[in-house]
């Protein structure tokens, strides 16, 4: 009976070991095959400014990192940071002023990459109507500004730098409608360099008008634009997911900015932006390259700490936040990709 | 002045049934005549045909010498933005102010004349409404339940006085009250069910007047005739 009992025990053990092994294997294979699902809320509608995000999605950069990312269109009523907190998105794109405001209100948000190294928000001006060689040249001019928008903060900083007050210039309230600029009521108009400026530039060229761009960075004002954010909770609980997402996203951006992939990038854009012509998309893409990757020695996504600090300082000076937030504490270095 | 209707037929649009069919009658004498019949028999429709408010009927109506026919009914209201006296004043033709005052007295509405129409009782409202019609120019006045909700004594007084004041005018009194029409009306046009031909039947009433007592047995006979004609 004894040997028989022994056999029974060993059989049982074998059964449990096999069962455990099956469970373990199936568990491993589960982790290996089921990609993690995350939502990524963009700042704005699908256009050239989000080409890298779309590229990473369409060309499987996320999939290669075992991530299933739902890239969601943004818009004026969308706020990625709020969605992070509400748990509806795990990653998002937010402007620097949004991040600083959120920090000021106690939101637990971290910046994991900075997409635009140069802020696309610039001013377009007619060169036959005004010459700008220094900030002092703004004196006495009618300047278009979106009250409440980033451009207001930037312009006020520039004016302060030039020791100009609001009385020295004529501020014109800008809306969605470009008519005042096209009608030459205002000759200094805020635009997104890689989107609206392309349409407006084409119109001005058609009318035989000459124009140029006023770039705040040229005068030392580096107000940070769109950056990739996640919640502190996400970073603390799932650092690996955050790393994989950032790597995939920046690889996508890098590939989309590579001139060798130009046609693929345009085709990717065409899938989402059906209204723009190839020529427009091409022009927008060319400009975007200069804004995302202006310096070949600086990797795409690099967080410009100094620019962030300056952005915070501008907001503090203009009382857009009541107290310092030490934004540098939420800026995370980008991983190698 | 004669009112003569010949073979009047009426069918409302989208309705398969006739309201009136080959209806004929003739009223030759002015005074107080009546249109009597059960509810839904077509009295109001006939009244509106006579006053020209309904046009799409078949047959012929002859108004010999009568130009103005008015139709008054018991649901009419006066606008609510000013008092009854003010409204009456506005609709009184020149030279009839004395008549108005006399009628106000007869109708017993002197006390409520300065109130809004909506503040009056139903009986007072009907009296006010009838009064303003009596002030107008007309050859024929159709009174469709115009004295409804007025107590019997007052109604009797009003009817007798109207008859006295307007002896040469045609009145067509629409009422369900068999005693009343028998007593006060000269000729009673009894309107019968659509399936009965002829649809009308004329009965002579007692035509009571201020200065003439009526014979009670004759009144009973008239009432009987009306009931027989309409049943």
């Amino acid at each position: 009976m004894k040997p028989h009992k022994k056999t029974t025990i060993s059989q049982k053990m074998l059964f449990f070991i096999s069962l455990a092994a099956i469970i373990a294997i199936s568990g491993i294979s589960d982790t290996a095959t089921a990609a993690e699902k995350v939502n990524y809320r963009l700042k704005w509608l699908f256009n050239t400014s989000v080409v890298g995000d779309l590229y990473a999605d369409v060309h499987q950069f996320f999939a290669k990192q075992d991530l299933k990312v739902a890239v969601k269109e943004g818009g004026p009523e969308r706020d990625a940071i709020r969605e992070l907190e509400m748990g509806r998105a795990q990653f998002g794109v937010a402007s620097a002023d949004q991040v600083i405001r959120a920090l000021s209100k106690g939101a637990q948000v971290v910046v994991i990459a900075q997409l635009f190294q140069i802020n696309p928000l610039q001013w377009m001006y007619r060169t036959d109507k005004m010459t700008i060689n220094s900030l002092a040249d703004l004196k006495g001019q009618t300047l278009g500004v979106t009250f409440g928008g980033n451009d207001e903060a930037i312009l006020r900083t520039l004016l302060a730098k030039a020791s100009l007050t609001e009385k020295d210039v004529d501020l014109f309230s800008v809306r969605y409608d470009y008519t005042p600029f096209l009608q030459k009521k205002v000759n200094f108009w805020p635009v997104y360099r890689n989107s609206q400026a392309v349409f407006l530039g084409a119109k001005l060229r058609q009318a035989g008008e000459s124009f140029d761009f006023f770039i705040p960075g040229d005068y030392g004002v580096r107000f940070v634009a769109n950056s990739v954010v996640t919640s502190k909770k996400m970073l603390d609980t799932k650092p690996e997911t955050v790393r994989k997402f950032t790597v995939a996203l920046l690889q996508g951006w890098q590939a989309s900015m590579n001139v060798a992939n130009n046609d693929t990038a345009i085709k990717t854009l065409q899938k989402y932006d059906k209204d723009s012509t190839v020529e427009t998309l091409q022009e927008q893409l060319d400009i975007t390259r200069g804004l995302i990757h202006p310096d070949p020695n600086v990797p795409i996504g690099m967080i410009d700490m100094a620019a962030w600090k300056q952005t915070e300082q501008i907001m503090l000076t203009q009382k857009l936040i009541p107290a310092p937030v030490s934004v540098e504490k939420v800026l995370r270095p980008i991983p190698k990709y | 002045m004669i009112i003569e209707s010949q073979n009047i037929s009426l069918k409302y649009p989208n309705s398969p049934n006739y309201v009136l069919k080959d209806l004929s009658f003739k009223l030759t004498e002015p005074g107080f005549n009546a249109l009597f019949g059960p509810s839904g028999v077509g009295k109001t429709s006939l009244a509106k045909i006579l006053t020209g408010e309904i046009h799409n009927y078949y047959g012929q109506i002859n108004f010999n010498g009568m130009e103005t026919c008015l139709y008054s009914y018991n649901l009419e209201r006066l606008p609510g933005w000013s008092s009854v006296s003010r409204h009456l004043e506005k609709v009184t033709p020149d030279g009839r102010h004395e008549l108005r005052e006399e009628l106000i007295d007869i109708f017993g509405i002197g006390e409520c004349i300065n109130q809004r129409f909506s503040q009056l009782s139903l009986g007072q409202q009907n009296r006010v409404n009838l009064l303003r019609y009596l002030l107008q120019d007309f050859h024929l006045l159709i009174m469709d339940e115009s004295l409804a909700n007025v107590d019997e004594l007052t109604r009797e007084k009003i009817l007798l006085r109207i008859k006295n004041m307007f002896p040469e005018t045609h009145f067509l009194y629409i009422s369900h009250n068999v005693v009343e029409v028998s007593k006060f009306c000269k000729t009673i046009v009894v309107l019968r069910d659509i399936n009965r031909q002829p649809q009308t039947c004329l009965v002579q009433g007692q035509d009571a007047k201020l200065d003439r007592e009526i014979d009670k047995s004759k009144l009973d006979t008239t009432m009987l005739e009306i009931v027989n004609a309409s049943s």
Partner: protein, 251 residues
């Protein structure tokens, strides 16, 4: 509805809504960025009260003028279009069709043509509340009040002014409700106009607050809009009541 009842009803609704927000905030442990805290809302309210109040008054002024224009236009067209004539039915069809277009779709055209000044705000406010008022006026004016009108028609006394007066008087409650209701539309229209393209008014301030992701400012603006609108609607209803009372007590 009496004036004070309107105001305390608004207070109840507003407080309930804000309490709900705070419940969500504390229930889900959300930061002040997502939903501002009670003290933040309170301080913002105190800080921005004067500025926002003057903005709301600016908006209200435009809305009131817009509404007066729209009521005047609606009465004019409604009275002209009340008859069952070709023109009358044309006016009705046109009114129904134009109402089908959302004003936000038409607004940009108006902005391009007229710029972003007060005229644009006025026109949009008037357009938004014009059609509902017109439809009501058309409905009221084309419906005869036979029991009153019959006498005047039968005796040849009916004039168009009397007809309009009778129908307006008989439907004064309906008209007052529509006009008070259209006040909401006029204010909402003005705010939309200001939000899209204007340099003044509470809609413009809300847009800036949205740019700044400042929900506390928006809650303050909503409070002031709500209370002002309640007061305005109450005043309109009271005016309607006084007109009716004045009409009904005149000897």
């Amino acid at each position: 509805m009496l004036l004070h009842r309107r105001i305390y009803q608004f207070f109840i609704i507003y407080c309930l809504a804000v309490a709900c927000l705070f419940l969500i905030k504390f229930g889900l442990n959300l930061s002040d960025y997502v939903i501002p805290g009670p003290m933040d809302v309170w301080h913002t309210g105190i800080r921005e009260f004067t500025r926002y109040f003057s903005d709301v008054m600016d908006t209200l002024m435009v809305a009131v003028i817009g509404q007066v224009i729209s009521i005047f236009m609606a009465l004019l067209v409604g009275i002209t279009g009340r008859r069952a004539t070709w023109f009358g039915s044309f006016i009705k069809v046109a009114a129904y069709n134009v109402q089908a277009y959302p004003i936000v779709a038409i607004a940009p055209i108006i902005f391009i043509l007229l710029g972003d000044g007060i005229v644009t705000r006025l026109i949009i406010a008037a357009m938004i509340c014009y059609f509902p008022v017109l439809l009501s006026v058309l409905g009221i004016m084309s419906e005869p009040v036979n029991d009153i009108e019959h006498f005047y028609r039968a005796t040849g006394r009916m004039r168009w002014q009397l007809e309009v007066k009778i129908r307006a008087f008989e439907n004064l409650n309906k008209l007052t409700t529509v006009i008070a209701g259209s006040a909401t539309l006029a204010v909402a229209g003005t705010i939309v106009a200001e939000f899209i393209a204007a340099n003044a008014g509470i809609g413009y301030s809300i847009r800036i607050a949205l740019y700044q992701s400042d929900l506390a400012k928006i809650l303050t603006a909503l409070f002031l809009i709500g209370i002002t609108l309640s007061l305005y609607q109450g005043v309109l209803e009271l005016t309607g009541y006084l007109i009716k009372k004045g009409w009904a007590t005149r000897v």
